[in-house]
Structures are given as C-alpha cells and as structure tokens.
Symmetry: none
Subunit: 201 residues, 4 copies
DNA sequence: TGCTAAGCGAGACGGTACGTCACGTCTTGCG
DNA sequence: CGCAAGACGTGACGTACCGTCTCGCTTAGCA
C-alpha cells in the first residue's frame, strides 16, 4: 500500500516501514525484558526511529503493544465447526489454553491484562476493542448448538461462557497452574452434564 | 510487647510507628491514585517518613503493598461453617466477589495480580506467600462436605475450586463484568448439580 | 552566529539561554551561600533548568564554576602599559589584590583554588586552562621592561613573578590579612630595589 | 592518664583508646581517599567507633583533622638558632618547603587550607589556633637578628615574613610548581639584599 | 523543474522518580 | 556515664524515561 515504496520523509502519510519497525521492536522488548523493559526510548532506539514518530502515531506504549497484539489475535482463536458441541468446545478451549500459555501474542495479552488492572482506561479499551470481538468468536459454538437444538434456547450464553473460559483464565492469570487438556475437557464435561443431560446417550 | 512504647530509632530495630504509617500511606495512595500513583517518594512524603527508611525494610513498592495486603486478607474470606455445603459455598463465593470488587484490600489484590503479569518473581511470591493460604481456606467447605459424605471422597478438590472461583476472578480481572449474587449462586448450583446429582430432587 | 536566535532543544545542540542561566545561578549561589551551598539541584532550581541539562554539559559543579569563572577573568587583570615598570607593577598588583579580595570572580577563584587542594585533577585543569593564561598576562610588564632595558635580559621572569604575586596570594588564601596598596607598593619597591639598583638614586 | 586502663563504657570520662582510633582513621582516610573521602561514617566504621562518639567530642570532620594536625605540626618547623640570619632563614624556608610538599601533616595543612576557602569559620579557627602559633615561630629568626643588630629595629616583621613565606605557599597552593632549595635561597638573598645591603660588603 | 509541505531522524529541553550516600539526632542496653 | 550499635528524618547525588519542542534532511506532487 502507499505505493509500496520505502521512503524517509514524504507527503503521502506515514511510513509503513517505521510502523513495522516500531511494532516489532515493542514485541521484541516485551519478550526480552518484560513489560517494564518496554519504553518509548527503548523502542525508538531499537527500531531506529525517532521518539517523535512514535508519539505521532501512538498515544502510549500500551497502544503500540495493543496494535501489535491485534494483528495476531484473530488468526488464533476462531473456532471451527465440527458439527458437534462437545467437539467444538473441547477444541476451542484447548486452543485458548495454548494461546494464553504458549504463544507470543498470549504473552502480550497477559501483559496488557495485567496493566489493565492499573489503568481503567486501558481496561475499557481492551474490552471494547479486543475482548468483545473475541467473546463474539467464543459465542459461535454455543449459538450453533442452540440452532441445532443441542442447547436450550433460553440459555444465558454469557454466563455459560464465563463458566467455560473463566477457570482457564484464572489458572493463567492467578494461580499459574498449567492448563492441560484434561482440565479443559473436564470443563466441557461439566458444562454438557448440566445442560445436555436429558438429551445425552 | 516491648512494653508498647513507641520509639524512633534504636538498637531494637525498627519503628512500629513508621511501619504502620508506610503501610497506610501505600494503601491510601493506591486507592486514591492507582498503582502508578504509588511511589516510594509519595509514600515517604505522605507517611512523614524518610525514603531511606522505606528502602531499609522493603525492597520495592510492591513489597510494601504485599505487606499491607497480608494484614487485611485473612480477616476477610475465612469461610464459616453452616453445616451445609450449598449454604457454605454460596456464602463464601458471595464474600469473595464482594472482597474482590468492593473492598480496599481487593483493590490491592487486583493491582498485585496485575503487576504479577509483568514480574514472574512477584507472581511466585504472591502465590506462595498469600494465595496458597487463601486456597487452603477456600478448600475448607469442600473438605468438610467430603467428611460429611456430601461429596465423593475421590473429588479433585483443586479442580473443583478452579471451577468455582475461576469465573469470579475472570469477571473481575478480564471482562470487568459485575459479579452479582445470582452469578455466584449459579456457579454453586452448577457445581452441586454435577457432584450431588444422586442426592438431589 | 546562527543568526543569534534563541532555541530550546534542537539538533544544533545546546540552548544558550539555559547555559547562561546556569552560569549565573552558580555564581549567585556561590556569592550568597558559599561553595557548599552550590548544588546541582540548587543551580537547576534557581536557573529554571532541568538537572539533566546540567549533567549533559558539565561533569560536576566545579566545571560549572570554572566556566563561569573563565568568562569573567580575562577582562580583569590584563595589565596596561604606562611605559614605566614601577607604575605598571604597582597598578597591576593593586588590581590583582582588589580582584582577589573584592570581586565576585575573585571569590570563585578562591573557592576553586580551595577545592583544588582536594582534587588533583581540578588542580591540573585550573592551572593548565586558566592560571597559565593569567601568568602570561602577568609576565607582560616584565617582558616590556626587559625590552626597554629597565630589567636585565637574563632575569628569571617566573621566579620574579612568584616573588611579586606570591605574598599577595598568601595573604588572601592563608593568613586572611588585608592587602592594602602599601603592601603591594612595598612588594614592587623590594623588587625594583633588587633588580634596578644601578638605576636607583 | 585517665588511669591508663582501656575501657568500653565507664564513668571516668572519655576513652583515650577511641580518641586515638578516630584520629588515626581520619588521617588514614585523608591519605587514601582525599578530603572528600573523609566522612564521619567512614571514620566511625574504620575506627570501630560509634558515630555518636565522634559527634560527642568533635563538632565536625575538620575538627578531627585539625586535632590530628596539631599533634604533628610543632615538631616540624621550629627554627633552630645558627647565630646568623642568612643561615637561619635558608634552613627555615627549606624546612617549610619540605613540610608543605612532602610530609603527611603538610597534606593535612593543604586540605584544611583548601577547605578554609569555603568555610570562613574554619578559616578563623585555623588562623587563630594554629597559624598564629606558627607565625610566632617564624618570627623568631628575625627577632633574634634585630637583637643582634643584623636588622634595623623598625623593620615591619610581619610584612617581611609575608615576603619570605608568601612565594613558597603560592607555589604550593596555586601553581603547583616545585619549591627547590634554589628558590628558597633566592628568596632569602632578595630579603637580605634589601635589608642588609649596608652591612654586606 | 524547481517549490513546498509533510514525515522523518536526531536529540535538547523541563520534569518526576528512581535508588544510594552521608549527614546530624535520637534511643537503647552493656560495662 | 561513656560507649557501640544502628534507626530515624533530611537532602543531594547522578541516572533513566517521560512527553514536548525544534531543527535540517528527504521526498513527492503541484505549479
């Protein structure tokens, strides 16, 4: 885009080159030195970019991380359709656990969620711009199951979601315990046991 | 002990007066200005204490908050015994929700948990020194129920706990959604439905 | 040069405005509160300048004073030519005494010379960068007199200078005795008596 | 004195042991790290003495150094009587030069004189308590010469002294030039040339 | 084909907080 | 009652980043 040519200084708007360098530098610094080690000065130095260029396009360092984060999130965590609620949920929760505990964008998510505890504005932005989209994706298997008649039509989908993904986030953010497949499968089992007992077998 | 006399600087060690002033100042600053507004300089100024006195006894501001937090936590969140699992759990989860969302030490907990996402050492300390004690308290109603025969002896208590308190923490730390009594009661209902089905109806 | 425009922070380097404010503040503080009262923090506060700006350009407070001193010194203490050795020397020594005991830059000189007793590096710098230039100026009347034939060509000019200015510095730095015109005139008389005895009477 | 027994804590007055340890520690620190490296805390630590013990007996670190200095000074620099003014003066100035440039107490003298440029109170104390005694000793050869008739009775002895010792101090404190025997002998020669010309032949 | 305006790198600036050092005062318990 | 020990309030140190600013270079699109 932008005609594709690299350039330093022009009148066509921002340099895509600089933007990418900033996002990568921020990601790298987070991985290498943790959240506190991400500083505007550090990003600028590592990206070979002027501080002013960062301030021109991002209000703060969390915004840089948010943008870096956004690019990666949707690819992961879009649930597939296996035609069966239990299979869908087991697969999705397992992917969620792996995303949160293993992936680089998962690390960014944890850092941003941590920072959001200190910064209500960030919390709001994180929820509105990013988590709500993810919640929408999370909802898909349940809505499909309702359509299929596997779940009652009056199910409170949001509460159901909290029961399913809540314990996973709790382990990741609070106890630090691992989130093995057995744990996520058991969550799904509990959920199905409650809401599908009469339909089962 | 020590006959209770206040003293400022002597060979018996630290001034209890200064210690209390620091802890209170840190708590107040967290409540008023958030985690970023808690500063060693700010604590010192508000507590009427020298910076050096803080550095003498606490390695960092999170250690001050941790100590302040410890003093408050146990009082809250020790579950009572109503002789009935459902009643115990409903009461305990409601108290937990209220602690996390309404109380001052709950705010400290959220801040420390947030910071722990950036600082693995803090995460470890928080879990080992504080959360594990709370987990032990959380376990009490379940263990009592097992003794009473209300729950099967082979129940995985830790997993059960994650199912119960996980969604509450998830709402508090991630979605920011409120945690009303209906939500916690429903968590308990789901739990009882699964593990006490034979006794029900 | 540079068209003389003031500027605060740009790639051409430092702000002349800030530089002047720092030098003046340092001078003022020395005059008002003495050497111990000259503080980087104090200079910064009085000059309305950030501490970092001082550290960026001067390694220590003595360097600030040295620079402030340099600006003032040459104006004073450049000997005039009266065409006569005795007149030249009497005028020059009187000016020196007045400079050392009465003037602000004289106070800076005393402070720096005092500090140089504690700091050999400063001593070297003070001698090489500043005192040697002054010694060169001091030498002028003697060299002119040699050219005129008033003094023998083989006179050891450096030793002669020590005889002339040494007692003045001694009173200023050590005994604290006043240095009246009679004292400096007498020094000149002693000097002329020794080296011009054939011309006398 | 003090009954001679070493003691830690008693009611017989101060501990001579502690006093000596403090003076030695101060001297050592001055030699090893310079004036800025002499701190009350450092003296206390090295002497194995409590800070309070130092503050009890000395108002400041310069007082410690002053006391250490006093013990050494008189031994040096008491002029001998050779029966001849020129011999007396040449010997005395040579001893003075050696004291100032080579000896440990000479280093203390330079440090204290340096500090006196920043601290008028110290300057006064230094002059009244120490330099005036030395001036008295310096005067002896001249007074003896006046008695012997080698010098006129109306000689201004103080001015004469300044002419003799001033250039030596100037080299030591200001230019840092060496003070060889030739320099001091020449000072004496100049002095004798002026005041004894009629007696010479 | 030069003019001109926007994005860029560089980096100085006024600030705030950091964590350290030494100050001089104090309070205690031992000898 | 002098002493060792050492905690205390105070204030300056020198450093790291913050977010703002000014500058000169580079480059495209317009004149």
């Amino acid at each position: 885009m932008e005609s594709g040519t690299a350039h330093r200084g022009n009148r066509h708007g921002r340099s895509e080159e600089a933007r990418q360098a900033v996002l990568e530098a921020a990601d790298d610094l987070l991985a290498e030195r943790g959240f506190a080690g991400v500083t505007i000065e550090g990003i600028a130095a590592r990206a070979g970019v002027a501080k002013q260029t960062i301030y021109r396009w991002w209000p703060s360092k969390v915004d840089v991380l948010l943008e870096a984060f956004t690019e990666d999130m949707a690819q992961h965590l879009t649930p597939e359709d296996h035609g069966d609620l239990g299979t869908d949920l087991r697969a999705h929760l397992a992917r969620l656990a792996e995303f949160l505990t293993q992936s680089d964008p998962g690390a960014v998510f944890r850092a941003l969620t941590g920072q959001a505890q200190h910064d209500p504005q960030l919390a709001t932005r994180l929820r509105d711009d990013h988590l709500s989209a993810q919640r929408d994706r999370d909802r898909i298997p349940l809505l499909r199951a309702i359509e299929r008649g596997e779940l009652p039509g009056d199910l409170d989908v949001d509460v159901a979601l909290d029961h399913l993904v809540g314990p996973v986030h709790y382990r990741v953010l609070v106890t630090g315990a691992p989130v093995p497949r057995a744990f996520t499968d058991d969550l799904v089992a509990a959920f199905l046991h409650r809401h599908q007992q009469h339909d089962q077998h």
